[in-house]
Symmetry: C2
Subunit: 545 residues, 2 copies
Amino acid sequence: MKISLAQLNYHIGNFEANTSKILEAVKNAKQDACDLVIFGELAITGYPPRDFLEFDDFIIQAEEYLQKIVTAADGIAIVIGAHSRNPVPEGKDLFNSVYFLENQEVKFVQHKTLLPTYDIFDEYRYFEPNTEFDVFEFQGKKIALTVCEDIWDIGNENPLYKVSPLDQMMLKKPDFIINVSASPFTYNHAKDRLGVIKANVNKYKIPLLYVNHVGAQTEIIFDGGSVVMAPNGTVFHEMNYFEEQQTSIELSAVMKSEKSSEQEKNKIALIHDAIVLGIKDYFNKLGFKKAIIGLSGGIDSALTCALAVRALGSDNVRGLLMPSQYSSDHSVADAVQLSKNLGIQYDIIEIKDIYKVVETQLKPIFKDLPFNVTEENIQARSRGLLLMAMSNKFGNILLNTSNKSEMAVGYGTLYGDLCGGLSVLADIYKTEVFALSRFVNKENVFIPINSIEKPPSAELRPNQKDSDSLPDYDILDQILFQYIEKQKGPKEIIKMGFDEKLVRRILRLVNINEFKRYQTAPALRVSNKAFGMGRRMPIVGKYLS
Amino acid sequence: MKISLAQLNYHIGNFEANTSKILEAVKNAKQDACDLVIFGELAITGYPPRDFLEFDDFIIQAEEYLQKIVTAADGIAIVIGAHSRNPVPEGKDLFNSVYFLENQEVKFVQHKTLLPTYDIFDEYRYFEPNTEFDVFEFQGKKIALTVCEDIWDIGNENPLYKVSPLDQMMLKKPDFIINVSASPFTYNHAKDRLGVIKANVNKYKIPLLYVNHVGAQTEIIFDGGSVVMAPNGTVFHEMNYFEEQQTSIELSAVMKSEKSSEQEKNKIALIHDAIVLGIKDYFNKLGFKKAIIGLSGGIDSALTCALAVRALGSDNVRGLLMPSQYSSDHSVADAVQLSKNLGIQYDIIEIKDIYKVVETQLKPIFKDLPFNVTEENIQARSRGLLLMAMSNKFGNILLNTSNKSEMAVGYGTLYGDLCGGLSVLADIYKTEVFALSRFVNKENVFIPINSIEKPPSAELRPNQKDSDSLPDYDILDQILFQYIEKQKGPKEIIKMGFDEKLVRRILRLVNINEFKRYQTAPALRVSNKAFGMGRRMPIVGKYLS
């Protein structure tokens, strides 16, 4: 049996584009003499369709497009993820299903059993969990059809679910497993995924063909990396990461394969590729081409700019330098150097005149009240105003440059440096920003060394340094990681050896700044706990604050 | 049996404050010679605790405080909602439970079966659904203990769940039902709730004692309205709305009660009281006292200001008038009149100088490009900058004044008039803004009649009117209501008689402005489909856009 795996970049709700991609891949597979072609989870709608699923009109459209794919199952069989209707009135109205299409008919539908409802996932919001299990026979082989999470609850001492779909399906003695997925990237996910696939194969001793999405949907980045695993637990084939790809494999070859062709994985390289794809797809899918970035001369904006140039091309990225009276000379010099290194257009607008007139206007009310965070924020917001004016006038989408360490402790000005349509680095800690910058500079120095090596500063008051009000980033980031990614409480973190007063102060800062994060741009997600839709915190909550 | 119902205003994560309120109510009930006192759902943590529930430290603290309440169950029994641990490894680790405490011991625990996971609710994210049903006998009476949603899936042709907890419990022949709830306000909810309680009582023919939360948690407002319903389906007692209250009832009196004491409900009055409580609790629970509002002379800012004064007192509300060169004379006059009517402090800062210097700074880049939305947004953002400067300097939280109609179609400037810590009107359509303004003016004219009657305008260019780019609000709001609240697609809305081109344009505007709403303040929720956490839409989604 020759099987084609189609790892495609879908666009949520774009039925027309998704369906024509799918039909194109069906055609390719037929030309390649395949018996079967496999797509990802909820391929017609894209993933996650979120509350679009609550619109009948959306559901009906998705079904009309599914029908076109059924019609294309002619001379080839198709396995594809799509919703289906719950035939009984009790329970939610939809299932998240995988279809087996053959001879222009729906031959078999298996519903998803395990509905991830944690982090960024909300599947129980929309779908009824499956309770019936079967396999489907095709060309003399029995196939266990599963959807994404169905294979993930394995080998845990504390399983998240009460049922194991594959344990149930094994009663029917399938010959191999197909998993249609929409499994998003985190920098550990490719490894974790291979581990999970291997755990299933080792347990059930049959091949597993895993087909993922690729491409970004706002903050969520699908990394691809679809896999065919041989019954002995070796990787028969691992598809590309961060790229659309279609590959054919011969099932009989998988059955007897012995050598592993697993790819090397490097955390920083994966993050780099994920972010570049994330930027690219945000622009492509929204129909934009051009970005603008406020360049401070610091490392965050420099890295954001370098990544944007890789995603969009230097012609489509524009820099704006906005020095204030507190900016050091090197700030402008470093930002100019960066722009030249990257070959992008840049402009310089000093903000001191705007700052002065705002100060003058407020003087009758502020009188002689001392300089404080207000005046710092006025500078940051003047920059936000100028960047958004440029964005509005020229149609360049503003990219936000804040990193995860800053976002965590609220070190940033709402409506100022927190402006932007997309946050590029907000899931990347400052220590990782340094590593990623060095990675970007590996072959050529794009980011000026001075931007990487000088002490970080917001330059909103004389001689300000980040270290005036924050601990060293290597300490800060460790504490933040334990609290945000590991969900450790203060006692556990203190027990690890960090200073008690510091830990309590940092955790308090994280919690009292929930209101800021509520109003910031979606952030490209690269960790297993990013700010945004996957981390849902009360604003008026009093815990640790 | 004498039973006390304690309808309290909890604060998420504020274990100390919540527990001392609960203990105080236990004391009151004992002094009132009650046998039993009933609290709401997840009373110790407040509702919804959201992802705080993923922190072991948070869970352990909640359990320590529960222990204090167990100790107080001395000479009185206590029914209270709190999490409990799932004793088996399979499934989620927590249940959402109701406890029966007596003689300083946990005598009985019933877990919640139906876990709402729609709109603002995420309970399956945290909790394992119950599958075992029992009743508890106290003083010769068998009690069916339920948690919120457990009583709601009744009388639907298309039930959301597969099990009915009360159907199961009825096999044990309980004498009455207790429901501990955290059931948030919408303007239809009080009526719906009484309908649901009645449907249960009519079906099971035994009394139902329903205890709700009161008070706001950021956007979610709990309205109280706890109810005791007699076996014949009449309201024996309905507690106050939007107020903490503790009431005692005699169960034998409930059993034989015949006359209904149901309160009148008026949509606009309910919204009014909900919003006032929403503002008050946002400030109280975050430890703030003072608000600032940008006053344009228009109806939205006038209404927001009047409601803020009711919530916080006139001494704690400050207005800022920021006329531009395009502002009409009446704008300032109306805003001044409003400030005087409400007795609040106000200042005037003209924005033309700021606007001029920004224009000058951008001139070398913008050259002779024509005036467009860029310049409109510069004005709006200059105002945002000034309001936030006032907010930072004086500690007044900025209240956002955008209404739901504007938020829906993106008629507002990000980082400009969309600034603010809390959105007061963002779940209230413009047509409802008019009705609410007239309601506020019922006894005294607080909001100048001219602000209500003049044609709405953003005044960002000469002679601009909302009606230049939007249809009349009574048409617009009907279309928006069908799309947002009723989740009708374009075909269905057009079939209702609205112009096809207009419908498609409006729905497109709603969808392409998702990115703006993503970055705006939490909005006090009064409808059954508010923007924010209860409406989760893709930003890069292509549906109808």
